[in-house]
């Protein structure tokens, strides 16, 4: 646990804390505008700038993003800082002179009138909407466009994106009221979908299982919705998936990615506007240890569900994998051809196998069999259990210390044992 000094007072905080967290713990107030406790550090408004002295050098840094490191000394209120913060506030008020939240914040700095030629913007570009959509919901339906003074949040609000869940978390976090996409998105969904396909926003957020909205997305008329909002006292998005849960979780020794779907044969799937990326999960990676050769279908092929299409080779053993999803194979990861070990080095990112374009019905049918979120974690736990206790015929070889998988399994099992193992864990889709 690192300990540091803030304005002369010593504080010991949990590792992983930021300077802002530490200051809060000491009751020292630092102004913030783009910080949100459930979102990752961002550092855009710079109102929280403080002086940090480390190994004799003093630099100005954003408290909300700077890690509380051992031995640093922080000053939160030198005249240099106060002067700079005030100017930042001037910049913001001159940008958004009519936004109540900005005026209120400016008033805290004793600023009542814009100092520069006033603009008529509503958005302070704090990025909360984009971040909640991206980090918490994993939907990435909105982002920033353009650079510098022309930067803005997109997509154009009149054109909701298909990736949008209509959950309204962006509206909820926006401090200025600039984002007003909720109702329009709902209209979009309502017009687009038949009555029986209108999925409740809680279902889309992954909070409840499939639930069809009986009210044409008029959430304000829905008792469940109203009750939810009241009891939660925050946006359901944060309750369903607080940001900690969005980080990878380790189940036994296996890393589970929160935003991915998992198939029974230990492949992950990720939907990217209609297309689906596929790769091996951490369970498969640990079992196969290190891929040294790979056989893949070519881009352009049509895959049908259950077809055996990939062969991963490791130390003379082969793991054959079926595709859990049918569709056109529109891209394969050619990096694997030069470096097959990428599949095991970085299975969730650069080691992906294929990009498949399924028809909508195909995806819906497949999606029903996949696991994600908490269900996936439970499933990983049971798979781990099953593996550690899988006594026949190779139990001894695997139950190394405390149930951990011993390294280089393919090299240690006989051909028969390997066949039995892959049959038990990788055959089913």
């Amino acid at each position: 646990m690192p300990s540091l000094t803030i304005d002369g007072t010593q504080a010991t905080v949990e590792s992983g804390s930021t300077v802002l967290d530490a200051a809060k713990k000491l009751g020292i107030e630092i102004p913030t505008l783009c910080h949100h406790e459930h979102l990752l550090p961002y550092g855009a408004c710079r109102l929280c700038t403080v002086e940090i002295t480390q190994r004799g050098a003093t630099r100005l840094q954003a408290a909300c993003a700077y890690p509380a490191e051992e031995g640093i000394s922080v000053r939160t209120n030198s005249s240099r800082i106060l002067k700079g913060r005030k100017l930042m506030m001037h910049f913001l008020l001159s940008r958004c002179p009519d936004v109540p939240a900005v005026r209120k914040k400016a008033a805290e700095f004793g600023i009542t009138r814009p100092r520069f030629a006033p603009k008529n913007e509503k958005c302070i570009l704090c990025g909360m909407c984009v971040r909640v959509c991206n980090e918490v919901l994993g939907a990435s339906a909105i982002g920033f466009a353009d650079r510098g003074i022309f930067r803005r949040v997109e997509p154009a609000f009149a054109q909701p994106s298909e990736a949008c869940l209509g959950c309204g978390a962006c509206t909820f976090v926006c401090p200025t009221g600039h984002i007003q996409m909720e109702s329009q998105t709902r209209d979009f969904w309502r017009d687009k979908l038949g009555a029986e396909q209108r999925q409740c926003r809680y279902a889309r957020m992954g909070l409840v299982a499939h639930k069809v909205c009986p009210r044409s997305f008029q959430c304000q008329k829905c008792e469940v919705d109203q009750a939810m909002e009241e009891t939660l006292k925050t946006h359901p998005a944060f309750v369903a998936r607080p940001v900690e849960r969005k980080l990878p979780v380790t189940i036994e020794e296996f890393t589970v990615m929160p935003q991915l779907y998992f198939a029974k044969n230990h492949l992950w799937l990720k939907r990217l506007d209609g297309k689906v990326k596929v790769g091996i999960d951490d369970f498969a990676r640990k079992v196969i240890s290190r891929v040294d050769d790979i056989v893949m279908p070519s881009a352009g092929d049509t895959l049908s569900r259950g077809e055996a299409v990939w062969e991963l080779r490791s130390g003379g053993r082969t793991l054959s994998l079926r595709t859990p999803l049918g569709g056109r194979l529109i891209d394969v990861n050619t990096d694997l051809l030069t470096d097959p070990s990428l599949a095991t080095k970085d299975p969730y990112y650069r080691g992906w196998l294929a990009l498949v374009w399924p028809r909508e019905e195909e995806w819906r049918e497949t999606a029903g069999r996949l696991q994600s979120g908490r269900a996936a974690e439970d499933w990983f736990a049971s798979e781990a259990e099953r593996l550690y206790h899988w006594s026949e015929p190779a139990g001894k070889a695997m139950a190394a210390d405390g149930g951990r998988l011993i390294p280089d399994l393919p090299g240690k099992l006989s051909e028969t044992q390997w066949k039995a193992l892959t049959g038990a864990f990788f055959a089913d889709v």
């Binding site: 550092g43 855009a44 710079r46 240099r80 930042m88 570009l125 003074i149 080095k345």
Partner: protein, 637 residues
Amino acid sequence: MKIRTMNDLYAARQAGIASLYPAKTKFTVSTATCGLATGARPVLDAVKEEARALGADLIVSQAGCIGFCEVEPVVLVYCAPGLTLVYKEMNAEKARELVREIMKGNAKSEWALCKILVNGTTDGKPAGPSRETARWLELASGIPAIEDVGFYRKQMKIALRNCGFIDPNNIEEYIARGGYTTLHKVLSQMPPERVIGEIKESGLRGRGGAGFPTGMKWEFCRKAPGDEKFIICNADEGDPGAYMDRSILEGDPHSVLEGMIMGAFAIGASQGIIYVRNEYPLAIENLTTAIRTAEARGLLGRDILGSGFSFAIKLSRGAGAFVCGEETSLMASVEGRTGEPRQRPPFPAQKGLWSKPTNINNVETWANVPEILARGGKWYAGIGSEKSKGTKVFSVVGKVKNTGLVEVPMGISLREIVFDIGGGILDGRKFKAVQTGGPSGGCIPERLLDVPVDYEKLTETGAIMGSGGMIVMDDRTCMVDVARYFLDFLKEESCGKCVPCREGIHRMLELLENICQGKGAEGDIELLEDIGAAVKDFSLCALGGTSPNPVLTTIKYFRNEYEAHIKDHKCPAGVCRALISYSISKEKCTGCGACVKVCPAEAISGEKKKPHALSPAKCIKCGACEETCKFGAVLVT
């Protein structure tokens, strides 16, 4: 054939020597981007055609840029063992004639820039001078030696050691000049810690701008926990007008590859990435060839030089935004995310590309590495000033006589660069300022010209070393306009993420535009200083952090010019259109009428041979009359 042993390297080197210093006459045309822009392609074609027409037994090859871009297209003629003659300002016609003359045994001294004599030994260098050499030296006696040409006299080539002298697509020529030989030594005899030790001892600092000690950076990355690490070469080079990195990549790509392999070995990385801007097609082409050849020869990829060490390099193309050169946004861009900077720490050495420990260095930094390891850290540390070691490449542009790429030992003064190497100011004008450090660098005035090229000393002036852009300005430059110009560039390049940079640049620009239009107000200068200080302090990345430099240094050194704009509504340099007016001097005007013809607004009238008059009401202040008048009769006030 793969190179695995010292003997294999030796064989490759012999082949390289044979093509570098052949027994026949060799014509080499500099066909880097800068050469091609001035017409090197037709020159190359002409040399080939003429050789064919004459049935002459000569070799025609291509190379990168020798730095003196002002006098391109350049042709190098290797005419006798150890002797190369360099010809400047070629065109197709001159090139044809040159081929004829050389084959006749004429040195064509009046077209030559200089001669280069290499006193070779037999090992790795051309054979010593022969009688043929003596004969040609006699013929070329009127041509100055390269050491005596002002542009080159004070230069010292380390990073650019091979540029312009080897065929970038011929790996053997690189090996002939010592390339990959040191790599063999490193992989077979030096433990990684010693490699890092040498780099630390050399005092090499990052050439990409910030000047962080390279050896220390490598050490952090080596010590960072992680089973997979990355090496990145930053070849984004977004500074407008700067092309040091491009020239190295085009003229000597293997020096960068070799440096990266050495770095990877020292750090324990298995994958390297060169992030190169898409606007550099020739650099990409030459790099691609170099990577492929190095792989084919076993110098890159699995089991390099039979040492068991494996390392692969991939190219990643930059999207062209200036901010993508910043290391954290560069890595975001490689990962396929928006190129936006993020908070450091975590530094790349802790959490870089794909969250793995990553070491990122600039092209020029990498190109220095093989030479340092070949000659030792101590040798390198012997060059330069106390805290800035070695050499630095600058692209000198603007109002100097000799524009081009220069590599100088650290510690040399700016005055020497501008006046001795650069040859002084064009058209006999007066020097006013030199801007170092690219768009967010600072302007240094005449009285500080003796400041040495040194990271700390340049920072003290308010400017920065930056990556090597250097713009020389003469007395016709308005410093307020200069500040406005650079901020206008930065306005479009700020990513817009953080408030100080996005809003601050915008507001400073607003003020500067007003001042240039004569709408400046009392207190504007102080406000600019306040904004500048806060933007420097509060910005998230160095783009914002350095963006006020052009404003703050011009205020610091040319405050009276700002005051003239604001208080007297005058632009002393005669640049800001809103603040100047044109008139015609009765005394000087000869009534030739030249100005009447060029004035697009028909604002000038007068009888032939009598003084003309200019109507201020009609004048649109385009300045065409002033440019045209041979008698200096058009006055700007």
